[in-house]
Amino acid sequence: MSQATLRVQKISGHAGTVPGEDTQRQYTVAKLVDTTTCIGCKACEVACVEWNDMPFSPTTFDNTYQTMPETRWNYWNLITFDEHEKEDGSLMWLMRKNQCMHCAEPGCLAACPSDGAIVQYTNGIVDFQQDKCIGCGYCISGCPFNIPKFNKETKRVYKCTLCTDRVSEGLEPACIKACPTGCLHFGSKEDMLVLANERAKQLKDHYSFPNAGVYDPQGVGGTGVIYVLHDATQPELYGGLPSNPTIPLMVKLWKGPLKWLGNIAMVGGILGLFVHYLRFGPKDRDETPSEGARP
């Protein structure tokens, strides 16, 4: 979903610089999800499916209010429902809107070998370009949040686009527009952080949530979706949100040192071949016929 008004700042599998990089500055955008005021109505799920014109996919009863166990290639936005019993015996029903986190340092983009299949715009949105996707699935292993999902029929990977088509026209994403409680906010990352910290402080000072805090993990350079959590010390309670997400080590190695090692080995091999030729010249054919080889 390439958008003309959005400028690209990072390209997957791309050698050299990014054309037009740093010619334009934009606000980094962010979604703020206040899990403390989410009522789990799933309006954002419906808005996402409808705006992105995705087909319905059947679900089955799974002893929970959660629509499905995890996001699908055609279901990008899923509220996780978790019943958590606190030490004092009181119960919390934790709901968290789960979708692509739009990391500042995206693992999917780092892992992707196809030139331009994953891009990051100057406003921070990470977007998949399905026309350039080769269906290798490396982005799936590169994502610490288990978000990109493979479609077996089209052999492409899909995920939340942060409604690039809406955002590039100055509108908020569809999920934000649908939220009836105002638990979802959209704006510049800076503003969202201010709002999030204000809310976390309110929860600490005026409600009984001494561990309330903001989830903006630095392991992936901060995210384009930030959460206000009742208990920021235990993000795992919220549908397994990783407390310190990082790009998997293999992806980092493969795309960093190992890539260079491979390049050096390949160039070294060719160079060695050339040096060998200069030193020893072409290989001479052994002209003497072997005994009894030919009648």
């Binding site: 009522i39 789990g40 109505c41 799933k42 799920e45 419906v46 499916v49 409808e50 319905f56 996919s57 059947p58 679900t59 089955t60 009863f61 799974d62 002893n63 929970t64 209010y65 629509t67 019943e83 019993e85 119960l91 029903w93």
Partner: protein, 203 residues
């Protein structure tokens, strides 16, 4: 000085013309018609004496003595709208089929696991759906007796995407409203669907 400075007597008044209320005018506490316990406030009259009732053969009432030992309540979900949206694939995708919410402790006691079919019976009818075992409904201690409560969302019955599929497979579909009593508040005409007695068995 009190707030009623405009009244010569300096206190509030209540205007309740005869015939405007079927009961009252002051509120008091009554148990539901089907209750697991006695009314401590009015031991001789546990429920409202002037409730309206339907008088058909279907309008029967159960008690704990008859084995109806579980309190049941019915409610709606945010994902569905009454009985309309079960025909809309989008809403059905969010919540695909009916369920009965059962407290964890009760489920453990009766050997029910999430996804098992349970039959809920009241004096008036029966309803079968899958069990959703939850921590959210806790056991209650009422007049010193441990009492369980279950909850059933109302959105299924008659026809719909799930119902039509079930009927093809020969299942008997009932509406959860066959469980609840037609006992009606004499003033507001609100039916008493939030508290009644049922039996719960694993199918």
């Amino acid at each position: 000085m009190g707030p009623f400075i405009m009244n010569p007597e300096g206190v509030g008044r209540i205007f309740a013309p005869l015939g405007a209320f079927a009961d009252g005018p002051f509120p008091t506490f009554y148990e539901p018609v089907e209750s697991p316990t006695d009314n401590l406030l009015h031991p001789k009259q546990t429920h409202n004496p002037v409730v309206k009732r339907y008088k058909t053969p279907f309008d029967k009432y159960g008690s704990v003595k008859d084995g109806f030992d579980v309190v049941c309540t019915t409610y709606r979900l945010t994902e569905h709208y009454h009985y309309w949206t079960k025909n809309n694939p989008m809403n059905v995708q969010l919540v695909p089929e009916p369920f009965v919410e059962i407290p964890e402790e009760m489920a453990r006691e009766r050997g029910i696991q999430g996804g098992d079919h349970v039959r809920v019976e009241s004096a008036r009818g029966e309803y079968t759906a899958k069990a959703m075992v939850t921590k959210r409904i806790k056991p209650m201690v009422i007049n010193g007796k441990k009492t369980y409560q279950i909850g059933i969302p109302i959105h299924w019955g008659y026809r719909g995407i799930w119902e039509d599929k079930q009927r093809e497979e020969g299942a008997h579909i009932t509406n959860v409203n066959v469980l609840s009593p037609t006992v009606i508040d004499p003033n507001a005409y609100t039916p008493e669907f939030k508290g009644f007695l049922v039996k719960v068995t694993k199918v």
